[in-house]
Amino acid sequence: MPDSVAVVPFVILAALAVGGGAMMVLTRNVVHAAFWLLEVMMAVSGLFMLLSAGFLALIQMMVYAGAVSVLVLFTVMLTLRRREDAERSLDLSWSAGLIALGVFVAVGAAVVSFVPAVVTAPALTPGVAEFGRTLFTERALPFEIASVVLLIALVGAVWWAGGDDR
């Protein structure tokens, strides 16, 4: 595979992601923020596709754009009593901005000074078929552990929300 990608789709998707993230933080309405988060998720899914990770782009669309944003919207709309409650204060603070800026400077310095040990790009993209075969043969144990963890979380959530008569 080539060791770089085209700049025009990258710039478009990066602007969509960063602009959507900034709008999510800066908007006052929680429902609007949920929709801005949905836009960021779709832009990140496009970036995954730009990085030749088509399976992850599909999963990102299904899990984040499908399930998580619907979950957030359900949470917001079930917990708000009135429509006006969706408007929150903006909650901007200088100290949090300074902390985020400091982390960004540190991350930027680390990225600029980052020298990978091996810079060559992988020879080929593993497709969905190879991924599934690896997942169900030699990586079967982590897969099963993840499924057991999800089952425990499901049972715990049902028990936790079980009401007073437990």
């Binding site: 990066a14 992601a17 960063v18 993230g21 929680v30 990770a53 985020a100 930027g108 990978p116 060559t120």
Partner: protein
């Protein structure tokens, strides 16, 4: 014109810091949760970029 792994890592850093700012400032729990989702997305993007551009030394 092409871009390499550095641009993707910088983008992931920007997204992570936006999410960090939101998670630190917001008082509503749902907004904090959404900011955390943004941060996990930035980390995922970083992982995918590194897996696309670099080969691990075997």
């Amino acid at each position: 014109m092409t871009v390499g792994p550095t641009a993707f890592m910088a983008l992931a850093g920007v997204l992570f810091c936006i999410g960090l700012f939101g998670a630190l400032t917001k008082k509503s729990a749902v907004m904090v949760l959404m900011s955390l989702e943004l941060m996990t997305n930035a980390v995922n993007l970083n992982l995918v970029a590194i897996s696309r551009f670099m080969t691990p030394a075997s």
